[in-house]
Subunit: 434 residues, 2 copies
């Protein structure tokens, strides 16, 4: 089999066979197929697409390129959630312990923030001592013992994806449905969950701007996952404003703890509970959505979910009480209020730009090497549709530098719009699929 002939077939719109895809991926991992050949194939895939069979084979080959975690039966209780990413999306931090406190097991491998979205690992690392570099044994044992673990992928989880993703990023081949499916599913399924719920974000702070593209991605993820024998569902959820109230690593962790103590924003609550209900039904723990939500509520109310969060943090070497100790968890030096400059209703967030401002504050990365300041970010006190009066605080800016904070304050006037008419409030859950 020759690499160039496989590229030529995809170039000519011919479907590749399982053995061709296996050969290409294996040779690429071994180094006998080069980056420049992979990037050429990726562009051909971008432009000519892949059939479902091809996408399944690609994903399986990516899973098989590295370590795989296998949990003992009964395997339905192993469930995970994947979000396509947004601003203020701290759902994983709440959901994993909440669902685990209901009896499911959540083996969650997460990533870091890049671009305008935050990363779950970056958020968790604002907890003093928290380890996101567990070994696969520590990961597996923690899932069995605690019920949930959130850690980073090791180098050898779906290494084909790591190499391919780095290449796609610099060769304009990121936005390809089969390649996105392969990338998302290979990493998730390598970690061993049987069930998976997709939180496909949709709106001006998401990669999918409209319901059509979000629906298209969701349907593809579901179809490919089912062909791979997994139990999956998808929710398309709103990302036209930051989710919940905080954006920024430590601020989001603290918001999660508030949530687990019973204080929440409606949007974050609804999205979390609906995703949790899907996970519990996929896990076979409850048979319907209403029962599942009832169980989730009870675990919030009786404090089990918060205790599970603390257990997880401590299993991963985190200092839970240190989170509330200024000596151990640095706070931002400056907090500047962003105030309404007119009366009216909050009309619109430019959510993508708000996400970029978090990075500008130092709370995210411009390049992979950048260090993150966990303390910076935003707290938003108004959501779309809220009434505001001149001088009222819309948001707080947490910054390390006063000039920067003032600068960001000015920019926010462009990105948070106030107007006279009462706007439509976005629906939290736009669509359920699967």
């Amino acid at each position: 089999m020759k690499a160039v002939e496989i590229i030529a077939r995809k170039r000519d719109g011919i479907s590749l066979s399982k053995s061709e895809i296996d050969f290409f991926l294996n040779s690429y991992i071994k180094g006998s197929i080069k980056d420049y050949q992979m990037s050429s194939l990726l562009m051909a895939v971008y432009l000519n697409g892949m059939s479902d069979d091809e996408t399944v084979w690609l994903t399986e080959a990516m899973v098989d390129s590295g370590d795989k975690i296998v949990f003992p039966i009964p395997d339905d209780i192993y469930v995970d959630k994947h979000s396509t990413g947004g601003v203020g999306d701290k759902v994983s931090l709440i959901l994993a312990p909440l669902v685990a406190s209901c009896g499911a097991r959540v083996p969650m491998l997460s990533g870091r923030g890049l671009g305008h979205t935050g990363g779950t690992l970056d958020k968790l690392e604002s907890i003093p001592g928290f380890r996101t570099d567990l070994t696969l044994d520590e990961f597996r044992i923690g899932v069995e013992k605690i019920g949930c673990v959130i850690t980073g992928q090791t180098e050898n989880i779906a290494p084909a994806d790591r190499l391919m993703y780095a290449l796609r990023d610099v060769t304009a081949t990121v936005e390809s449905i089969p390649l996105i499916c392969g990338s998302i599913l290979s990493k998730k399924f390598a970690a061993g969950p049987r069930g998976l719920v997709f939180d496909v974000k949709c709106g001006n702070g998401a990669f999918m701007k409209d319901i059509e593209s979000a629906g298209n991605l969701s349907r593809n993820l579901i179809r490919i996952s089912k062909l791979m024998g997994r139990n999956v569902r998808a929710l398309i959820t709103d990302m036209n404003q930051p989710l919940g109230s905080a954006a920024g690593n430590l601020l989001e962790v603290l918001e999660c703890i508030e949530f687990l103590r019973g204080f929440w924003q409606d949007d974050l609550y609804n999205v979390t509970m609906e995703l949790g209900a899907e996970m519990l039904t996929l896990a076979g723990i409850e048979s319907g959505r209403q029962q599942a939500i009832r169980l989730l509520k009870s675990k919030l109310e009786d404090g089990s979910a918060l205790r599970k969060f603390q257990e997880m943090v401590e299993y991963q070497n985190g200092d839970f009480s240190g989170l509330f100790d200024r000596g151990k968890t640095p706070r931002a030096r400056y907090i500047v209020d962003h105030k309404a400059n007119q009366d009216g209703y909050l009309q619109r967030y430019s959510t993508y730009e708000v996400g970029r401002l978090v990075i500008e504050l130092g709370g995210g990365r411009m390049t992979k090497e950048d260090l993150i300041d966990p303390a910076v970010g935003f707290k938003f006190y108004k959501k779309i549709g809220d009434e505001v009066s001149v001088g009222e605080i819309i948001a707080e800016i947490y910054a390390r530098d006063k000039g920067l904070a003032n600068d960001i304050d000015k920019k926010l006037y462009r990105y948070i719009e106030i107007g006279e008419d009462r706007p439509n409030i976005p629906e939290f859950i736009k669509e359920r699929l699967g």
Copy 2:
């Protein structure tokens, strides 16, 4: 300007600007744009094409990526020929001195054989001592002094093409009209000719199998060249049988000398004279085809063309008389006759396969590193349409090994077909364009 954004534009079918193409090529040469980004762009170009403007800018950027030769005025007399390659295509060796003996100047940079076609440099190197590695100064001075030089490209003639071609070869992006135009024209125009005639081979021994694809390539080469301000024409010539009588490096050189002495096969004669006539009219030496052919004939008849060939060989350090000295020019050890096994007419050559047999004999390269045996190859005594009787010699096989020669003899029965009906004889010149 960012590489990934330029790739994305071409991927999305948007035309690139001159500054984008210049940036991409220059950055690639400097190494800040990587092979994997170039190969991704090449695949996008393959699938989405390029406008004429883009192709011109690409070609100019490729020319500008290295050394360029500039000849003094009057520049119309500097003319060259490019062949798309075939089996037994030794036209350059005759044409350069023939046209130079008529007063034109032929600055010819040639390549080596790879695939099933022979290479002009490989043929010339069967002349003892012949140098194909002239410096650009030696090249330019030789063109001015002798009237013609045939040498290899230096490393720094269109280096972008060298790098891109190597990449295209292993990423399934060879057969793209704009990329082919860029590759052919950048190398040719960097050598300084004002006029250029294309010999676009067409048939089962050519890269273009049918008249439509040959016509399409010809029209593109002509259009792009004219946009670049050059005088060009194209002939589409037959490649359904080996051109002339020999295929194999030394055998072809000896056939050229026979030609220059007045002995030739009709097909080789016609193709050479028609290409020569185009070159002389492009050079402004004759105003019409008939006068040009008359002049070419006279230079063949009075021995000027042969003398010019000898001058060129000697300028390039070649031992002309050594060619006829078995002590200096090794001959093949075995010559095996391939004889007709039935009466009838020669119907068909499988020309591509015959070209591959030359390589099998040792007369070409499987990989770039292979050494060539100059002495091996074929002499064909029958052309399509010739009558043959059982036992008559169709071809001679020149080999270094008797077993191999017998093996090739058997294979030739598949590749040279004899049948009862008188076949149509292919036209030597299929189309004239420009």
